[in-house]
């Protein structure tokens, strides 16, 4: 369910689950678009030669997934601040699930605070963070 104004938001509400596209073709395209090419992002075998368990999803792409999940939930919202902690690498071609919960609401200012996580299908947290989102008052 999406929200349009600050008054649609409920404390403790969970955002709809967002499943990002982590296929290597997609994550590689992101990496190249931000100038971060190289084996660790483009090729599983090349990444293993660099000591990684497989090709990586760029850390900031995790942030991109989180903001896309927010925009999907709040089409009129603006992400004013987002802070992400890279707890463990996200791997390309490995499904991920994004979840988020409303932890604070300022109805006068139109601000919502969210706690967010990116987990893999083993329920292991890869990225977590918080976001401050401004929503219309009316």
């Amino acid at each position: 369910m999406s929200v349009n104004t600050i008054h649609d938001v409920e404390f403790g509400a969970e955002l709809p689950v967002f499943e990002p596209d982590t296929r290597i073709e997609n994550t590689m395209a992101f990496a190249k678009s931000v100038g971060w090419g190289g084996p660790r992002f483009e090729d599983h075998e090349g990444a293993r030669k660099e000591g990684f368990p497989g090709a990586l999803v760029p850390g900031i792409m995790g942030m991109g997934f989180l903001t896309s999940a927010i925009h999907s939930w709040a089409p009129n919202g603006n992400v004013e601040h987002i802070d992400t902690v890279f707890r463990a690498p996200m791997l390309a071609d490995t499904p991920a699930i994004i979840s988020a919960v409303v932890t604070d609401i300022d109805e006068e200012e139109g601000l919502v605070e969210l706690d967010m996580t990116v987990k893999n299908t083993k329920d292991e947290t890869r990225v977590f963070g918080t976001a401050m989102v401004r929503l219309p008052l009316e």
Binding site: S68, V79, D83, F86, G129
Partner: protein, 144 residues
């Protein structure tokens, strides 16, 4: 063992890097769409409010991470996380300037030793000097 207060006194809040950028619409669209973004102001260059996503802004912080005379602490810096605060839309095809300084240095002690956290802050301005966004990159170094 490095004294964190000494590092803070010597290095915090001194600009050590300045770089100009011009963002291309094509790259902004790819970064947005691959992230699952659907909003036209991020994926349609013809939209009147077309702009960079917050995550794209964090990519501008790559490059020189620490002042050239910053002491070696033993370990290789790891990317511990990123944050971005948006003040105004960041558009393509205009000159942008990123000014970088160390915003914070702190440590945490764990079973495997001391970890040092360094927050590298990039402030992004347009040609009129308007402050558009701030990105923070947290570097984590395991002290040796």
């Amino acid at each position: 063992m490095v004294d964190i207060d000494d590092l803070k006194t010597q290095y915090l809040n001194n600009e050590f890097d300045r770089k100009d950028f011009i963002l291309s619409s094509d790259r902004l669209v790819i970064a947005a769409t691959t992230s699952g973004e659907k909003r036209p102001q991020y994926v349609d260059p013809d939209h009147p409010d077309f702009q960079a996503t917050p995550a794209f802004l964090c990519s501008l912080a790559s490059g020189r991470h620490l002042p050239i005379d910053f002491p070696a602490l033993g370990g290789v810096p790891m990317d511990g996380g990123k944050a971005v605060e948006c003040f105004a839309p960041v558009r393509p095809d205009i000159k942008l300037t990123g000014k970088t300084h160390l915003h914070d240095i702190y440590d945490k002690k764990g079973r495997s030793g001391r970890m040092i956290f360094i927050v590298v802050r990039l402030e992004l301005f347009d040609e009129s000097g308007e402050h558009l966004a701030t990105t923070d990159s947290r570097l984590v170094i395991r002290e040796k």
